[in-house]
Symmetry: C2
Subunit: 347 residues, 2 copies
DNA sequence: ATGAAAGCGCTAACAA
DNA sequence: TTGTTAGCGCTTTCAT
């Protein structure tokens, strides 16, 4: 258990000043070839590595990004988390994780804890947040980006897929597919993703001269989605929708389970199901769920770019609202319009 | 954008010394009721919160735990991560995440980065690690616990399920179920989980007078598991196993897909499939996978307890090997022995 | 119980 | 290019 090696020890071994050591490990500093060599040699010998915390204290930059995430059982998030973390790591930043799930109400506590770590930025991934959480960051001077959430709040950068457009696409697809009784199972009403998806869906339905045949709320929650599906489909055949758009895949898979295994209906012969996200299980042959893909790679890239922009130029960087277009991935869970063919799943 | 509030500012407003402020925010310190009140009032007014980084510098305790994780597409890990993070948060610790996946070879780099943050402890979650990674931590004086990995290395605490016992259970269940041609699809050979599961499985098979009928390697990887399944099952009926134990659910689900949807065989009528982990999709009715449950809650609790033990008493705490027993969750993907009935999935 | 003072390990002026 | 110096915000003796 070797003790911590400090820059001073390296300096002494190398026969230079402590600041010389610091400079060697500071990217844009001026050191002579000779000094650098001596220092690196001594550092290697001692196994020295700069203390990030000490560096953070004096420089004011911790190179830590706080990531607040709520649900890891919606499989869109593990994927996003992995990509976010990787992208940040590549830039020399690291992710301090805060689970807001169990913490339930005290998301405020979580924010305090985040800020205590002097994080350089915060990513709020689909957390139910009152705008004051964002304000807390802002008045603490910490850049924030909302991931997979949009428009809730002014003056903050958000990155999401084009939920309104996605909703539209689903409606158009279902209408073209010849469905007559089109229904919707909603996510949690407080989520902008939910609201936008529903709004786009309804708008396109109306434009096509269709009314929404049925509507239930699943709150982005598996069990609630099951219950919603039962209320919607465990009815007389002529009251039953022939197509349903479910606000995300996490719920859509559960809805398919109820439709097929509890109620014994066929998908898509009796009812077409379309989801949103394109999580990995949606592509599994046991589901083959037609869905709107959220392009996680792009969303992550935009999020990281925006965050660094705000970190780099805290005052000039304008908040922006990024909406990334996502394709409809046509699989077998919904009846196809004439001339359409199901796609292969690529990444 | 309010500037950072320091303890000094609070002290001045409260009319006390800076150390007094520090004491108020230090759990076991001695402060008079009166002083505490004044300080808390001033702190609240200014919105003061102690700087965790500064505290870490002087105290030597960062209250950060480094968590190295490789795969988030094996859905056992998001669950574990969430629970780990929550358990740590409850103790006032936080998780700095390091994805070892993309980083491929340079897991060593990752370790350096972790240690740079002066983490109080490290949890290695199922990472392919040469023992020198553990040694790196140990010689840096940082406690380590291996999560979901066992026995690889001496002198380090590991927490895993009883993989050997789990493998046994599966073999016994399959034998009792009357299967005659029992096969195994292995995970990555470097993983102790894989080796133990296979060893237990083979041991019980041998004891029951059975030989392993077929063996393929899937490396814990979806695509490789698919290929393994094809090699194993796309053969003449009399060459085909009537049961297969797959080293984890992540692969088992893919194997079921191949068996049912590519090859058109029935599960369990033509072939029984058993997995390991009991990830959420294993319980979905589209799969109903019989599997060994890894008790994530217990594993997490043991991991956190062991870690804190090592953090608290770095020298006296003995490394231990924890193996947590996991039940066989009997669902419908494997033929039942006489008198057995499938279970409901509970958590 | 409280204040003064000494650092934790480092970066960033400032001289030289 | 280099060394000297002054902190970053805090905890922790040590007196009082």
């Amino acid at each position: 258990m070797a003790d911590k090696v400090t820059s001073l020890q390296v300096a002494q071994l190398a026969g230079v000043s402590q600041s010389a050591v610091s400079r060697v490990f500071t990217p844009g500093a001026s050191v002579s070839k000779k000094t650098e060599e001596k220092v690196r040699k001594a550092a290697a010998e001692l196994g020295y590595r700069p203390n990030v915390l000490a560096r953070a204290m004096v420089s004011g930059k911790s190179r830590i990004i706080g990531l607040v995430v709520a649900y890891l059982d919606n499989y869109f998030y593990p994927e996003a988390l992995e990509k976010l973390s990787n992208a940040l790591q590549e830039q020399g930043y690291h992710v301090l994780i805060f689970m807001a799930s169990r913490t339930a109400g005290n998301i405020d506590t979580v924010m305090d804890e985040i800020l205590d770590y002097q994080v350089d930025g915060v990513i709020l991934a689909s957390v139910a947040m009152s705008s004051d959480i964002v304000m807390r960051c802002q008045q603490a001077g910490v850049p924030v980006v909302l991931f997979n959430r949009s428009q809730d709040i002014e003056g903050v950068t958000t990155v999401a897929s084009d939920n309104f457009g996605g909703g539209r696409k689903v409606a158009e697809f279902l209408v073209q597919g010849g469905h007559q009784r089109i229904a919707y199972i909603a996510g949690w009403q407080g989520a902008s993703t939910q609201r936008d998806r529903e709004a786009g869906f309804r708008a396109a339905l109306t434009e096509a001269g269709h009314a929404l045949f049925a509507h239930q709320v699943g709150d982005f929650h598996t069990e609630k989605a099951r219950a919603a599906a039962r209320r919607m489909f465990d009815v007389a055949p002529d009251q039953r929708p022939d197509a349903v758009f479910v606000a995300n895949d996490h719920m859509a898979l559960a809805v398919m389970d109820v439709i097929r295994f509890e109620l014994g209906l066929r998908v898509p012969e009796d009812v077409s199901v379309v989801g949103y996200d394109d999580v990995p299980p949606a592509g599994w042959p046991a589901y083959n769920l037609t869905t709107i893909r959220q392009r996680a790679n792009l969303m992550v890239a935009e999020t990281v770019a925006a965050l660094f922009e705000h970190i780099g130029t805290p005052d000039t960087a304008e908040p922006r609202k990024v909406a990334i277009d996502g394709p409809l991935v046509v699989r077998a869970s919904a009846r196809l319009p004439k001339g359409w063919t199901p796609q292969r799943t690529e990444t």
